[in-house]
């Protein structure tokens, strides 16, 4: 078994694969990330063949680890890096109990966090990636981790999952090719390429931030924006959380506090430049 031990924010991973290639690709993608403190990994994420012969014969990678989902479809080994990324996500989504997880991206400036929740295709990853290259610190691409005791957002700066047109857009902006993973084509998510966050985002992965603004992006529409009520904000954040129900009352208390105190809005945008301009305008109005 090929292995990689890796710490990303509060998560200490033990990552394994019977194939060398996906681990080597992951090691390159996460170059510069620390090892788990005291060498103690607490989350196991693995890929493996769903049947013994699938290790060699038309090899397939099934998502494994501490937690498994029975209906997960194995992936072709050429997408092994994506399979590792997916099981790393899955283990956190199914197992994390210290932090409230919200399906969102987040960036930070002056100690305050902008949270961008959204479904796949909403543009949250692209916006967060762009902001992360222009004066903001990327805190999260997929899961925003909220400490139920303090309400602070803790960084979980995983590699950013760029899809389709966002790939070329980020390739034009970032000169360092070593920050990109390999091109992955024909994946269940379309064309895909991972991007390592900036060295600053990785180096400051233990610095939390106070939630200051929640914006719900919607890519592919004419520019428009409107406020989101406190009750809708609460409802949408709970819908987008993988562990709200499991956390019980602490999760309720923390999300009601966020709904009461953090302004929220939704906006539509046709292209990245317009999206960034709308985000910066909201942030200026929120004093962020």
């Amino acid at each position: 078994m090929h292995a990689l031990h890796l710490r990303i924010g509060p998560i200490a991973y033990r990552i394994g694969s019977p194939w060398a290639g996906p681990i080597a690709a992951l090691r390159r993608l996460y170059a510069g990330y620390p090892e788990p403190e005291d060498g103690l990994a607490t989350v196991t994420a693995r890929i493996g063949p769903p049947r013994p012969w699938r290790r060699w014969l038309r090899p397939q990678a099934a998502l494994e680890g501490d937690h498994v989902l029975p209906d997960t479809v194995p992936m072709a080994l050429r997408h092994g890096l994506l399979a590792l990324e997916m099981t790393m996500n899955m283990q956190v989504a199914l197992g994390e109990r210290r932090f409230l997880l919200v399906h969102a991206a987040a960036v930070e400036r002056t100690g305050r966090a902008l949270i961008l929740p959204g479904h796949s295709g909403s543009g949250k990853s692209t916006l967060a990636a762009l902001l992360g290259e222009s004066g903001w610190r990327l805190m999260a691409d997929e899961f925003v981790m909220i400490d139920t005791a303090t309400g602070l957002v803790h960084p979980f700066p995983r590699a950013i999952s760029l899809k389709n047109s966002a790939i070329s857009e980020m390739e034009r902006r970032i000169a360092d090719p070593s920050r990109f993973g390999p091109h992955l084509s024909g994946t269940p998510k379309g064309e895909l390429r991972h991007l390592r966050p900036t060295a600053e985002a990785v180096g400051r992965m233990d610095e939390p931030a106070r939630p200051a603004l929640v914006l719900f992006p919607a890519y592919g529409f004419e520019p428009a924006s409107e406020g989101v009520s406190r009750s809708e904000l609460f409802a949408r954040l709970t819908e987008g959380s993988t562990n709200y129900i499991a956390l019980g009352q602490p999760g309720f208390d923390r999300l009601t506090e966020i709904a009461d105190t953090v302004p929220a809005a939704r906006f539509a945008y046709p292209d990245s430049a317009t999206g960034i301009a709308i985000v910066e305008q909201f942030c200026a109005e929120a004093g962020l």
Binding site: F234, G248, F252, D253
Partner: protein
Amino acid sequence: MPRSRAAPDRTGGLGAIVTATIYRTDFPGSCRVHPIDGMTLVFHRPSGATHFLDSPVPEMLELLAETPDDIEGLTRRLCARLGTTDDDEARTVVGTRIAELVAIGLVQAS
């Protein structure tokens, strides 16, 4: 505390006395209650479920928390509190809402 009581005979004196269901609630003692946008957000500890409640449901729960009651009695007290007419339509609304509250575990029937 009696678990049931005789309901008024609405059959012109021909029907037998029937036993009405009494409803009670563990609200608000076993709940976290949070007002939001004119509604009431409730986290129900025993079930771990979160509910958005709009009027008259929070008022119904408050009345049942004060005194367990049947549909007739609860409708009468609710209409008095809200200043509305105690009629068949009100009883229908209360009965429907109570059935929903029983289904989600915020109210228990006995």
